[in-house]
Amino acid sequence: MMKALAMPFRPADDGDRTRHGVVVLLLLTVMLFVACLLSLGIGPTGVGLRDLWTYATGNSASLSTQDRVILEAVRLPRTALGLLVGAGLAVSGAMMQGLFRNPLADPGIVGVTSGAGLAAVAAIVLGNGILAPVAMVLGNQFLPLMAFFGGLFNTWALYVIATRDGRTSTTTLILSGIAIGALSAALMGLMIVMADDRQLRDITFWNLGSLGGATFGRVLSILPFVGAVMVIMPFVARGLDALVLGDAAAFHMGIPVQRLKKIVIVAVAAACGSTVAVAGSIGFVGIVVPHLLRLVMGPSHRFLLPGSALGGGALLLVADSVARTVAAPAELPIGVITALFGAPVFLFLLLGKNGITTRDMP
């Protein structure tokens, strides 16, 4: 199914822009590397960059067991998880904005976030009640799996609603997305009414998002989904560039528009559903990162998509490093940090001379 989409990249008609794009990607790679070092090398414990070096060069025997546990069982999986979650959210945001030709589009618009949120709240509130047998079977993975399936279910429902005679209308998709989001919010409200004091606290903290509790199991569990979004990047970039001219024009340029929509929506739903499932809701990464990058590298998706992957990963790792050190040994929710940083940047972009308008889109 990919083959028809696998158009060769546009020949470099403007070599300057290509070179510029490559330079920015290299810079982003360096930033990501620094962010990884930061994430692995700082934390509320004394374990720092020097210990990391000792560990990486194979002299881990000279470290205490405690320090090794912190590097191996706490920081490594956490850095890997932050990388995947940040990259997944930012690439999903960039793809959605391209697909909907709407600079405000984010995964929330196709119902992933609301579906995952509703299912997670249901898991918290009904986990000791009617969902107890399911909770027993799934054990510790009960909440993330529920959230994942909730996100996919909403996206699937939305897709079925917005597809008539094999054609998916973008407008219907956005409008039904709003309706389904409202319905999910209402059902979530019902759950919250049923919740007791403890469950309300759990819901609050889940909603604020956190990379706390990262394990390699969780990293592996979201890897296929975030990986899928990364893998399709080169195949959908040209299609997304063409879509700016409208569905019909893109179709006449030889883009299989319907298939492109399907693939992007499913990949984004899987990537976001799985990240929301393991890390809760983390806002603004999907909106802010692609916008910042459009300013520095232009709107072409062949650079914007990989750039978003690198930039999203770096941003989330930095945000997480802040989240776990400023209040150490306690921890702030990462959603608080991304919103504190993201919202002002978003406003700045909106008000600046490079204000966000649809002309920023390719």
Partner: protein, 294 residues
């Protein structure tokens, strides 16, 4: 659309992936008399550790551990339901002692995997579970003798209170526990709450037994409960006054409003279910039935 949605494949993959984290180490259940660096999670646990003389072995505590005052000088690892694995491990603990329900669960999983001995103390909101809680904490830190003595004292205090409460003449009073008064809505303590249990220990009747846990009570339900006394928590600088409580429309018709009968007590003391509970329940009884008990 059919074939391009390979949802079944996605489901299989996520199940496979998440399955990998199953089966981590289990919490240690033995005593740890040699533990010198204890992280204590839960206000009552910390309180018990201080009461049995283990305070010098505590290196950090959670944000609900604010009694006795000295506990506030230890590093705070955050709220017991939003803990951080590295924050706790960074204290280099050799024992983690936590109340049941501490979390979030993924962090608890990592703490278990770190192989630092960890003991989870069950905390049912029942008078007869307090002794067990104290003994559990004592056993976990290797101070069973002291804990046993403290538990016996506490149980004795509860028995004496029960005997005194039984002698109070007249009909029992209905007590409505109010957790918060946000936006004129009463968040009440229902069945299966610490508040309900302590009200009964003090010889009162929980006025809101039809709800479970702490939940907002409908205005008409507040009127229908006809509480004789309203019970609430005092919070340092801003304590709820009778004027505030009884200005709420749904409260105005209650017998409690007629007598301006509001009792406020320290939250951890009132709801902690630890060694100070006999004292807390006795003080509550004295305020519900003035003059009938001391």
């Amino acid at each position: 659309m059919g074939s391009s949605f390979t949802l079944r494949g996605l489901f299989a993959a996520v199940l496979l992936g998440t399955g990998l984290v199953a089966g981590v180490a289990v919490a240690s259940d033995k005593g740890n008399p040699e533990a010198k660096r204890i992280v204590s999670i839960g206000g009552t646990i910390t309180e018990i550790l201080y009461a049995i003389g283990a305070e010098d072995r505590i290196v950090a505590r959670d944000s609900t551990s604010f009694y006795p005052d000295a506990a506030n000088s230890k590093p705070d690892v955050g709220y017991m339901r939003a803990l951080s694995a590295e924050g706790i491990l960074g204290q280099k603990p050799d024992l983690i002692l936590m109340e049941e329900g501490s979390g979030p669960p993924p962090v608890i999983e990592i703490l278990k995997a770190s192989e630092v001995p960890m003991v989870v103390i069950p905390t049912p909101a029942k008078a007869d579970a307090i002794g067990r809680k104290i003994r559990d904490v004592g056993a976990a830190v290797g101070l069973s003798d002291k804990a046993d003595a403290l538990a016996l004292r506490t149980e004795d205090g509860l028995k004496k209170l029960a005997a005194d409460v039984a002698k109070i003449p007249g009909p029992k009073k209905k007590v409505l526990f109010v957790l918060s008064l946000a936006n004129n809505r009463v968040m009440a303590g229902g069945a299966d709450t610490e508040a309900g249990a302590v009200i009964e220990m003090a010889g009162g009747i929980n006025a809101a037994p039809t709800i479970n846990g702490y939940k907002p009570l409908a205005d008409e339900a507040v009127i229908a409960t006809k509480p004789d006394v309203v019970l609430s928590m005092s919070r340092g600088d801003h304590t709820i006054t009778p004027e505030q409580v009884f200005a709420i429309p749904s409260m105005q018709t209650t017998p409690a409003a007629a007598n301006k009968a509001l009792v406020t007590m320290d939250g951890l003391l009132l709801l902690g279910f630890g060694p100070r509970t006999p004292e807390a329940a006795r003080s509550l009884a004295g305020q519900i039935y003035p003059g009938a008990i001391n």
